[in-house]
């Protein structure tokens, strides 16, 4: 970007070439250099600078504070964890694989004790060795209230985790994590958890050397265990500059390719500007990607119409479901027939259109995402067809005593996410009208919306919601929403249907004991169908991510784990 003379020349020439250039611009892409457009086909080489253009800053760049799925995109360049996500396209990318550890973990027979051995020759950015004690310390500090932000599982699963307040207040440490030697670490859980290897992908499982810990300041320069180290972190992750960690060795890391020499993360950008820059692909932007900005419906239409641009769009699926939620404690949603009637009346094709069309959303009739790793078992318990079945809905309403229709309020957020936003609410309002249900819309500011729907005392009866997986499995998808023991009366509650069914709870416990993840997946799928019968939710759609990347970017890998382009795999040369 630092080309003053070029800019000056261009401005001088502007007046002359304005008409010509405008004409050329109208004829489509000016660039006939298609070598980058082929993406994965071109041979990747080491070197160059990868630019990441994001709207949200990479805040709290501290492994204790990050809430990631599978270690995150940018964080995973700096923090290695005991296990990690498989860096492969599609469904293969939803598998968990070893990272710092030699395997994905060795459970005892009831999956309450998990043992890991570190690979040999692991080093930090300063050349000092990575030890199991550092991993223990990294996990312990994530319990400190000063470093809050991570996922709740460690606290719920580790013996003594519920009361532990981190190493700053409690010097004793967590007894449930043992480090018998520098390469071995053993975790003691308070209940069987067959999915512990998935949890070990999160950044809390990254090593932190105690001597280098600077508490809340650690995020400014966290000590790298990955292929890149933080050279500069400006304004809490607004701009991150990463350079090679020369002590990282590819021979100990089968997952990260680390082709670029340098990574420049710039954020605070408007999403339309990000997409504009990626499509223009000028200068440094030719080697740019985004890890947080999707193409919107209008942008996608423009991009699809241009062959060269369309070749630079990555498509990804993340385990995520947008749905309608009912609170059965609020009338008339206490009557299952009313909930079923609404399920029948839903016009999924208009909802999908409101979400940006079929290339950005796939109609959903199951709560679990439509991916094998989740145990996806197709079912459609209240068949509404593509456009809804108002006759069936009316019939059920009449049975429930609402012969002359009924009036309900649908609560949604006022965000612009095409998920819980007004567009979706309006599509539902239109569909339900055909079934004689008058829907009043209640749009709330985002914080207010989130507070209301996650508070047992204020939860509305009928609202839009969404849920994404912490890892690609049925466990973190179903348990927080439908496990009766996870109902929280005085805090953030996610079991919004207040389901407390002993057979469901028991099945969750039984599946958690399984360490054969394929076996577990099948049973999550079956459980999903069983819960679906209660009609506590109406699944609407699963989103599809479409993201542009610059013309010099190659080796595109998009896994079903997170559905977005993986910066650890891309090359810019």
């Amino acid at each position: 970007m630092r080309q003053p003379s070029l800019i000056a020349r261009r401005v001088a020439a502007a007046s002359v070439s304005l008409v010509v250039a405008a004409g050329a611009a109208a004829c489509g892409p000016k660039d006939n250099d298609a070598k980058g457009s082929s993406g994965g086909d071109a041979t990747p080489h080491k070197g160059g600078t990868l630019t990441i253009l994001n709207s949200n800053p990479q805040q709290d760049f501290d492994p204790a504070r990050l809430y990631t799925s599978g270690g995150g995109k940018v964080p995973s360049l700096v923090f290695r964890t005991l296990t990690t996500r498989n860096r492969e396209n599609g469904a293969a990318g939803a598998k968990v694989v070893p990272d710092l550890a030699t395997d994905t973990g060795r459970p005892d027979k009831d999956a309450t004790v998990w043992t890991y051995t570190l690979k040999e020759g692991l080093k930090y950015e300063d050349g000092s060795p990575i030890t199991s004690a550092d991993i223990k310390y990294g996990i312990e500090r994530s319990f400190a209230p000063e470093l809050s932000g991570g996922a709740p599982y460690l606290r719920d699963w580790l013996v003594g985790g519920a009361d532990y307040q981190g190493p700053y207040k409690d010097k004793g440490g967590l007894d449930s994590i043992e480090t018998p030697d520098a390469r071995t670490i053993v975790f003691h859980l308070n209940k069987p958890e067959g999915e512990f290897p998935f949890l070990a992908t999160q950044t809390q499982f990254a090593p932190v050397p105690k001597a280098k810990d600077t508490g809340t300041k650690y995020e400014q320069h966290p000590i790298s265990s990955g292929p890149y180290k933080v050279v500069k972190n400006e304004n809490d992750g607004e701009r991150l500059t990463l350079e090679r960690n020369t002590y990282w060795s590819a021979s100990t890391d089968a997952e990260r390719k680390a082709y670029p020499d340098k990574i420049d993360v710039r954020s605070g950008l408007d999403s339309s500007v990000i997409n504009q820059r990626l499509s223009a692909s000028q200068g440094a932007d030719a080697a740019a990607v985004t890890t947080d900005t999707n193409l919107g419906p209008a942008e996608l239409a423009k991009v699809t119409g241009d062959k060269n641009l369309a070749a630079r769009v990555g498509t990804g699926h993340f385990g995520y479901t947008n749905y309608i939620a009912f609170n059965p404690n609020v009338k008339p949603f206490d009557d299952i027939r009313v909930r079923q009637a609404i399920s029948y009346a839903i016009d999924r094709s208009s909802v999908v259109n409101a979400a940006g069309g079929s290339s950005l959303a796939e109609a959903a009739t199951t709560f679990l995402p439509n991916q094998k790793s989740f145990g996806y078992t197709p079912y459609d318990l209240f068949p509404a067809g593509k456009t809804g079945d108002p006759a069936k809905a009316k019939e059920l309403l009449a049975q429930a005593g609402f012969k002359n229709g009924l009036t309900v309020t649908l609560t949604h957020s006022n965000s612009k996410d095409f998920e819980t936003s007004p567009e979706i609410a309006t599509a539902i309002q239109d569909a339900l009208k055909k079934a004689g249900i008058t829907v009043k819309l209640q749009g709330l500011e985002e914080n207010d919306y989130s507070d209301k729907i996650h508070n047992a005392k204020t939860e509305p009866g009928f609202f839009l919601a969404h849920w994404g997986a912490d890892w690609p499995s049925g466990g973190p998808f179903l348990a927080p929403i439908f496990d009766g023991r996870q109902i929280v009366k005085d805090g953030a509650n996610f079991n919004t249907g207040f389901l407390n069914d002993k057979s469901v709870n028991d099945e969750i416990d039984a599946i958690n004991k399984l360490t054969d993840l394929d076996q577990a997946a099948k049973r999550w799928g079956a459980l999903d169908k069983k819960i679906g019968e209660q009609a506590l939710t109406v699944p609407l759609f699963h989103p599809v991510y479409k993201r542009l990347y610059g013309k010099d970017v190659r080796n595109i890998v998009i896994s079903d784990w997170d559905g977005v382009l993986d910066p650890s795999q891309v090359a810019v040369k």
Binding site: P145, G215, N235, S450, V488, A492
Partner: protein, 332 residues
């Protein structure tokens, strides 16, 4: 000069009172605003026990007056805070720490302010030149086609939102014509030339909108002056049109232009959110919007105080300039 010193003192006192009032209002408003700060800071999935620990850590359970008292203490005496591994000092005037990032708010302001000032100062030059110039021209050429055209353009300027002008500029100038690279902020101290090149489009987009108001104001005040008796007398005496416009009519437009400029300048320091967001300028406005969204009270108070400071100072400067421009005005 005693008159001026008295004026300055009164103004300074008024400013302090205003800023205190602002800080109290922000504290009260945020106290009743939806959004559970501890839950947001801790994360959506935090358990009640964990949220309680975070609330304790951030002193969120203290009553409003206690929290405000801590704020005042920090402001005048500084405060010590723990990073977990060490105790650090935030020296007075300490505006506290961000709930979200644990950064000192004063440092955050120091990082963001140069960006906002760079944007607003540059844009101000453009909007004054463009706005006053257009205003003078259209007053001078009243009733002719050129005047109609200029009025039309300025009206379009007022009516077009900044994100439209900015986005069109970005798409055309940077995307299609490739005359300029997409702007990314470069500090003035790092490279003045790059600083100016990268701010050119943001200056233009912000200024095009503001300029319209100045053009209309200048035109109206000039026409008002031109309709007055003394101008007719000048004309009768044979004073040239150029001199009438330049020396007399324009002078009449100075006062309102100065007042408007002061208002707009002060407001734009924290209010150019759309321009900052569109061009990725990490300024005060963007930070303030983010802080409001995550209910980060110390950052909001700090940012609002800075913005308030600039509005008040800009108004005081306007009053002085007003007096210079129009000798009939007495500084009180």
């Amino acid at each position: 000069m005693t008159g001026f010193v008295g004026f300055a003192l009164r103004r300074a006192l008024g400013m302090v009172i205003t800023l205190f009032a602002i800080s109290v209002i922000v504290y009260v408003v945020f106290y009743v605003t939806p959004g559970n700060v501890a839950q947001i800071t801790c994360g959506p999935r935090c358990s009640p026990a964990q949220v309680h620990q975070v609330a304790e850590q951030l002193h969120l359970d203290d009553p409003l007056y206690v929290r405000y008292w801590h704020f005042l203490q920090g402001l005048f005496a500084g405060q010590d805070y723990s990073t977990g591994t060490a105790v650090q000092h935030c020296s007075a005037p300490c505006l506290g720490l961000s709930y979200q990032s644990d950064q000192q708010v004063t440092q955050l302001i120091l990082a963001k302010l140069p960006v906002s000032l760079s944007l607003v100062f540059g844009a101000m030059v453009v909007w004054l030149v463009l706005g006053v110039g257009t205003g003078v021209l259209s007053a001078w050429r009243r009733g002719r086609l050129s005047e109609r055209l200029l009025t039309g353009i300025t009206l379009a300027g007022v009516a077009t939102p900044v994100f439209v002008i900015g986005l069109v500029l970005l798409i055309v100038v940077c995307g299609e014509l490739e005359l300029l690279p997409f702007p990314q902020y470069v500090a003035l101290t790092d490279d003045p030339e790059q600083w100016a090149w990268n701010l050119l489009l943001p200056w233009l987009s912000l200024a095009l909108i503001e300029a319209a108001a100045f053009a209309r104001l200048t035109r109206a005040s000039m026409l008002e002056t031109l309709a007055e008796d003394h101008i007719r007398t000048f004309r009768a005496y044979g004073v040239g049109e150029r001199s009438i416009i330049g020396r007399h009519a324009l002078r009449g437009a100075f006062a309102p232009v100065i007042a408007l400029n002061a208002n707009n300048f002060g407001g734009a320091v924290g209010g150019a959110v759309l321009t900052e967001t569109l061009f990725g300028l990490p300024g005060i406005g963007q930070e303030l919007v983010h802080a409001v969204n995550v209910v980060d009270l110390p950052v909001v108070v700090g940012m609002v105080l800075v913005i308030g400071f600039f509005v008040v100072v800009a108004n005081a400067v306007a009053d002085v300039l007003y007096a210079v421009a129009d000798r009939r005005v007495v500084l009180t």
